[in-house]
Each structure stands twice: as structure tokens, then as C-alpha cells.
């Protein structure tokens, strides 16, 4: 199973015009050319004209260079940065509801170790949240799985370049 935290995946930070249908154009392109999206997060930027789409792509499905160049052909794509794991800070948020009838204390201990949070408690369930590096989130999810996860939702990765480490803006050539 591919997981968002896999180091083999590449993260693209795609600045797009904030216009109707832009996300559909990006999604369409990936579907049409057979590129796999591992995760995708979209949000406005501090400039109201633009949104940022953070896409984790599976480079096994196509060379990153082709993906970037094809993305650039979309008229509404303004800028693309490739964020390599060691030159960027990456975060992801996960919330999960775990069965805790038997082992609640063990789960609480894990929550402590990972500096996660408990959001809701019932007699036999705990809803926990963890914000952190995607690989840490992977590890936490993996450990929770042993207790039985009822429901899990992850946001997909968001990332920014490390301060003082401006990644090459991937130009179209």
C-alpha cells in the first residue's frame, strides 16, 4: 500500500489562479495522462488571486519531469515548485477513531509518545488527532491499526520550503 509519507513520492507545490474549475483541470490532467495522485490539498494563499495546490505524486506512474511540464501547459498554473523532503517542512493532520474497549491505556500512552491529542472519548472508542511529518503520521496510524481503527481521515500533505532554502522554481523548460 502506498502511503502519503513514503519518501519515494514527490511533492509539488503548484500555485494556480483562483478561478472556477482550476482544481478540475489539474485533476483531469492527472486522470487523462494516467498519473497517480497520492494526496492533494488545496487552499487559498495570502494573495487572493492565487491558490496553492500541494500534490504528492507517484513518480512510478510517470517521470516527474513530464508531470511538471504537462501541468505547466495548463493556462491557470502560475508556478510549480518541487519540494524535496530534505529542503522543505512538511506537515499532515490525521484524525482517527480507535477501538479502545480493551487497551485504552496503551492507546493513551501512544498518544503521549507521539504528542497526539485526544479529541473525543466514549466508553469503547477514542478519537485522536496527530499533526506532524507525514512519515510520523504513517507510523502512528500503523500502531493504532493493531487496536482497530473505525475511521481515519488524513488531510494530505502540505509543505513549504525551508527558510533560506528556496527551491528551484520548476520552469517549463
Amino acid at each position: 500500500m502506498t502511503r502519503p509519507g513514503d519518501l519515494s513520492h514527490h511533492t509539488l507545490s503548484v500555485l494556480v489562479e483562483d478561478k472556477a474549475g482550476v482544481l478540475a483541470r489539474v485533476a483531469d490532467l492527472f486522470a487523462r495522462r494516467g498519473y497517480n495522485i497520492v494526496s492533494l490539498a488545496v487552499a487559498p494563499t495570502n494573495d487572493h488571486r492565487f491558490s496553492r495546490i500541494t500534490i504528492v505524486v507517484d513518480v512510478e506512474s510517470a517521470p516527474l519531469e513530464q508531470i511538471v511540464k504537462q501541468l505547466f501547459k495548463l493556462i491557470n498554473v502560475v508556478e510549480i515548485q518541487e519540494l524535496s523532503p530534505n529542503a522543505s517542512v512538511e506537515r499532515e493532520l490525521m484524525i482517527a477513531t480507535v477501538r479502545s474497549a480493551q487497551d485504552r491505556s496503551q492507546i493513551v500512552e501512544l498518544v503521549d509518545i507521539f504528542e497526539a491529542k485526544i479529541l473525543a472519548v466514549s466508553k469503547d472508542r477514542l478519537t485522536v488527532s496527530l499533526e506532524g511529518h507525514p512519515s510520523k503520521v504513517d507510523d502512528f496510524e500503523e500502531l493504532l491499526r493493531d487496536y482497530g481503527i473505525d475511521d481515519v481521515q488524513r488531510t494530505g500533505r502540505i509543505a513549504l520550503p525551508k527558510i533560506g532554502n528556496t527551491p528551484a522554481k520548476v520552469r517549463a523548460e
Binding site: E17, A20, G21, K69, F72, I75, V77, E173
Partner: protein, 593 residues
């Protein structure tokens, strides 16, 4: 500044863009826009099917170099024009397509004749717009023309809801001033000028190449680069292959023109690429019909890839030097770089390569057997006679199939923009509407649509358009009563098990049908009649002509690279197979010794 409603503003915007002709078809949602057309200087050509409007706009663009414009209503009209949009996308044809849309308030309600036009056409347009305010129309039209014609050209669709062009809607009025209409495309700045360091690197490869080939594609025509290409060839003496999209970019009669490569390319063009040590790809994209099985394609060749679309670099074949630039500008830069290097005196001698190629040309010309007595016509013969009896600068359009390949092979293309066909998408029925568009754009030129009987039946209705609008195109219908190319594949690769490929020589009666559509029509069944009828057809200039040439059904297009095969597996004409076998065994002996 004038106060206009959206419909008036749309037509005025098109006038400002220099549009001469709109190919279109009215209907519910686009109705308001058809009112100001009455008062416009723009000629509107009423087609008989929306697909015809799209292909006519493409034919116009191919022939004139100016963007083709088509306009249709919403829903089924928009879906009918999907095929031409996809066609224009794959062949990089500059085109602006305007579609009506239901009123903004009705979008999303499954209203009458509503469909998600921008959604449906997203992946088959270079870009599309849904305009939501009347005052955005001028800027959007300006942007649409800019996008369609700059960088790698392509189709742009502008979807216009009915309410913003409705003369009864007070909100649809605004102060129109095209000059100051603006658009903002922060993410679009196509690269045009070549990087001179890369040009220099390319020049170095050319200087050292022993078996170079210029692999010329449609980009040379799109960039108006044929003249620069001619200079480059004169300077370097490098032989040229012209792909299906580039026929005419370099004159076939030139001794360095090897003709068309690819699946039905001639022996010399195919093998020149295979044995080359340097492919100079100019506005070509290593299409699968050119490369055959990729693993076996031009194994020893280094590649210089010049294309304005950087995404083409490395998409199929990794280039040694990639130049993202306009083909004409890059070719000109290459010429000066080579001259600076003292070319040609400083370069490797390629004369032995050239004599190898001319040897192949002598051994493997395109060939076919003439009809024997009582036999119907050979399609190749018909095309040769058309070629020799028509004006030198005749524009030829074609549909898709055997007739297309024969036309590309047997016509002699000596001028750019004289060959118009559907290369990438392979759209049957392209020929007649494209001919209508080409003739509308180039009224002084002879336009022959070379068509097959399958294709003819897909879009023949546009002959009514041609008659009504007095656009005197000529159609050479090569009627072999079969879907010839599909039959060829079934003959060759499905043990001659013919499945659903038989049409009929007589049904429909093409002469009656053509006459019913207002054309002059002839039927030719024997070689002796061919010249006389072609001369008659060429002499008619006041209405369209259809000549039905009754052809044999047994002809196959050779040479042929079998589907999925490597270019090394090229099947030549039966009469040349012995020679080919001798060459193969000689070369395998020399490589094993």
C-alpha cells in the same frame, strides 16, 4: 466607446480580431448572438452539421495560417463540435470556438440543451472559458485569440450563457472599448526565443554528424518556418523527411527530400531515420506512427529536439539537446550558429550517407501495378493524374484511411500549406468540411478534397453548404466499396476474415447524391476516362464538383510497418521484397562478421 449588449460586443470583438469568416450553426442559447451578425462585416457560413463547422474552421486555419472561428449553440451542438476540437488539439490548429450556454441561473439544473461544455472539452482544448458577465466578453475574446495563436497553437473554446448576450437584459449592456479590453494570464508565457547556448550545442552535434536527418513536423508550418528550413538544408545538405503533418514544408521535388516517414512512409525515409546518427527533430513529436515500436526506433541516433512545447521534449524519446522555441526562430539561430562555426567546410563529410540514401531511393521507389484491361481504377493512378493535371499550388485535403496515405505518398507537395489532413486524431470525414474551410479562406486556389467512400458518407452534407455558399471545392471520391484501411488490416493481420468493412460501389448512388446537393457530378470507371474528367472538373469554378472514381478493392498501402512492429519490420511492395531480403541478409552477415 459605445454602449453595446453582450451579443453586439461579441461580434464586434471578433471584427476587431480581424475575423473574416465564422463557420456556424444557430440554435436556442446562441440565438441572441445571431442577431448582430446580420449587421456585421463578417461572413457567416451556415454549415449543415456542427462537426462541419469545426472542421471547416480547421481547414481555414491550416490553409491561411489565421485562426479558424466556429460558433454553435449549447448542448448537442457543443457535443457535435467535440470531435473537431479534439482534432485541432492533436494537430495544434489555432481555432476559436464559441458555444452558447443556457442562462447562468439555469446552469446546473439540467436545463433544456444544457451540457457541461467546458467540462467536456477541458482535455481537448488548449484552454476554455465560461464567461459570466457581459463586460468580460471583449477581454475573454482577446485572450482566446492570443492563446489559440501563440506558443503551440490550439483550439480555445468560449462558452457564453444566454442571459449575458440577451438584448432584453439591462445587465447585458456595457461600454464597449476593445482597445482597452484586458486579460490577465499570469501563468501563460510561451517560450519563443531559442536559448543560444543550446543552439550552439545543437550546431556542434550537426557538425560532427555522419548520418544526419532533418525530421520535420507540423511545427515548421505552424511557425511559418518553411523558408528558414530551406536555407538550413541548402547550407548543410542534410536530407529531410516530412511527416504527415509537414508535407509541403520542404518541396518533394528537391533531391534532399526523402518524403514521408512512418507507418506508411517510403523505404528511404523510414530507413534514413533508422540508420541515422543524428535526428534533428523540428516541430515534430515522435508520434507512435513515426517511431513504430519505440525500443527499435533509430537506435544509434542522437536527438536534437526543437519544439515550442517543452512537454514534447523527453515525452517519447530523450533528446541530447532540447530547444524550447519557435521552430522558425530556432532554425534561423541554428543557421547563424553553423555559419559562425565555418560550416560547411568545418563539418564531417556526409556525401557517402547521401549516396546510400539515393541508392535506396533508386531501389525502393513507391510503386504499384497499373490496372489491367477491364479492371477498375487504381487509387494511386487517380492521385497521380490529379496531381499532374491540377494547378501546381492546388490545396489538397483528405479524410482518413488508405486514400489519405495514397494522397500523401503520390501527390508531389512542393509548397507549404497545400496539404490539409487529420493526422493526430485520424478523423474520418475531415476532408469535405476542411476543403470548404480552406476554399473559403483561399478562394483563388483550386481545392481538391481527396476522400474515401467511408469518409464521404460521414460529412457529405457539407457539399450542400458548398453549393449554397458558392464555395466551389472539388471532391475526388475514391470509391472502392470498402473501408479500405480496415480491410487491409483484416487481410494482413486477421487472416483475411473481413468483418463489417464492405460498403458498396452503388449504394448510395454517389452521382445522384452529389447532384442532389447541387454539385456537378461525374463517375469514372476506366483509366482512359480519368484525364478527361479531371480536366472537366478543373475547369468548373462556379460550383462544387464530385468525381466518383470507381476503384479496385484489392490495393494495399505499402510500405507498411505492421502495428506494434519496429520500423525494421517494414513491409515493402511485393515486387521489392526480394531486394529487401537481399539487403537484410547482407547487412546481417556484415554485422556478424
Amino acid at each position: 466607446m459605445t454602449r453595446l449588449n453582450g451579443a453586439q460586443a461579441l461580434i464586434k470583438s471578433l471584427e476587431h480580431e480581424g475575423v473574416e469568416v465564422i463557420f456556424g450553426y444557430p440554435g436556442g442559447a446562441i440565438l441572441p448572438v445571431y442577431d448582430p451578425i446580420i449587421d456585421s462585416t463578417i461572413r457567416h457560413i451556415l454549415v449543415r452539421h456542427e462537426q462541419g463547422a469545426g472542421h471547416a474552421a480547421e481547414g481555414y486555419a491550416h490553409a491561411t495560417g489565421r485562426p479558424g472561428v466556429c460558433m454553435v449553440t449549447s448542448g448537442p451542438a457543443a457535443t457535435n463540435i467535440v470531435t473537431p476540437l479534439a482534432d485541432a488539439m492533436l494537430d495544434s490548429v489555432p481555432m476559436v470556438c464559441i458555444t452558447g450556454q443556457v442562462a447562468l441561473a439555469a446552469i446546473g439544473t439540467d436545463a433544456f440543451q444544457e451540457c457541461d461544455t467546458t467540462g467536456i472539452t477541458r482535455s481537448i482544448t488548449k484552454h476554455n472559458f465560461l464567461v459570466t458577465r457581459a463586460e468580460d466578453i471583449p477581454g475573454t475574446i482577446k485572450a482566446a485569440f492570443y492563446i489559440a495563436t501563440s506558443g503551440r497553437p490550439g483550439p480555445v473554446l468560449v462558452d457564453i450563457p444566454k442571459n449575458i448576450v440577451d438584448a432584453n437584459n439591462p445587465d447585458a449592456y456595457f461600454d464597449f472599448d476593445y482597445e482597452s479590453a484586458n486579460f490577465d494570464l499570469p501563468g501563460y508565457s510561451p517560450s519563443v526565443d531559442p536559448d543560444l547556448d543550446l543552439v550552439d550545442a545543437a550546431a556542434k552535434l550537426i557538425v560532427d554528424a555522419v548520418r544526419p536527418v532533418l525530421y520535420v513536423g507540423g511545427g515548421v508550418l505552424k511557425s511559418r518556418g518553411a523558408e528558414a528550413l530551406g536555407e538550413l538544408v541548402e547550407l548543410t545538405g542534410i536530407p529531410v523527411v516530412t511527416t504527415l503533418m509537414a508535407r509541403g514544408a520542404f518541396p518533394d521535388r528537391h533531391e534532399l527530400c526523402l518524403g514521408m516517414p512512418g507507418m506508411h512512409g517510403n523505404y528511404t525515409a523510414v530507413n534514413a531515420m533508422q540508420k541515422s546518427d543524428l535526428l534533428i527533430a523540428l516541430g515534430s513529436r515522435f508520434d507512435d506512427r513515426i517511431t513504430g515500436r519505440l525500443g527499435g526506433f533509430a537506435p544509434d541516433a542522437k536527438v536534437i529536439h526543437i519544439d515550442i512545447d517543452p512537454a514534447e521534449h523527453g515525452k517519447v524519446r530523450r533528446p541530447d539537446v532540447a530547444i524550447a522555441a519557435d521552430c522558425r526562430l530556432a532554425t534561423e539561430a541554428l543557421i547563424s550558429a553553423l555559419k559562425t562555426k565555418g560550416y560547411p567546410s568545418s563539418s564531417t563529410d556526409i556525401s557517402s550517407w547521401r549516396s546510400t540514401l539515393s541508392g535506396w531511393q533508386e531501389m525502393f521507389p513507391l510503386t504499384y501495378e497499373q490496372s489491367v484491361d477491364g479492371e477498375l481504377l487504381k487509387p494511386q493512378y487517380v492521385i497521380e493524374r490529379l496531381r499532374d493535371l491540377s494547378p501546381k499550388d492546388t490545396i489538397v485535403t483528405s479524410g482518413v484511411g488508405q486514400h489519405q496515405m495514397f494522397a500523401s505518398q503520390y501527390w508531389e507537395f512542393n509548397y507549404p500549406y497545400t496539404w490539409i489532413n487529420s493526422g493526430g486524431l485520424g478523423t474520418m470525414g475531415f476532408s469535405i468540411p476542411a476543403a470548404v474551410g480552406a476554399k473559403a479562406g483561399m478562394p483563388d486556389r483550386t481545392v481538391w478534397s481527396i476522400d474515401g467512400d467511408g469518409c464521404f458518407q460521414m460529412t457529405a452534407q457539407e457539399l450542400v453548404t458548398a453549393s449554397k455558399e458558392r464555395i466551389p471545392i472539388k471532391v475526388a471520391l475514391l470509391n472502392n466499396a470498402y473501408l479500405g484501411m480496415v480491410k487491409q488490416w483484416q487481410d494482413m493481420f486477421y487472416d483475411e476474415r473481413l468483418s463489417e468493412v464492405h460498403l458498396s460501389h452503388d449504394l448510395p448512388d454517389y452521382v445522384k447524391w452529389a447532384e442532389a446537393m447541387g454539385c456537378v457530378a461525374f463517375r469514372v470507371e476506366s483509366p482512359e476516362e480519368v484525364d478527361e474528367v479531371i480536366n472537366k472538373a478543373n475547369a468548373i469554378n462556379d460550383r462544387p464538383v464530385v468525381v466518383e472514381f470507381r476503384c479496385v478493392n484489392s490495393e494495399k498501402v505499402f510500405p507498411m510497418v505492421p502495428a506494434g512492429g519496429s520500423n525494421e519490420d517494414l513491409i515493402v511492395d511485393p515486387s521489392q521484397r526480394e531486394v529487401q531480403a537481399r539487403i537484410r541478409s547482407a547487412s546481417s552477415e556484415s554485422s556478424s562478421s
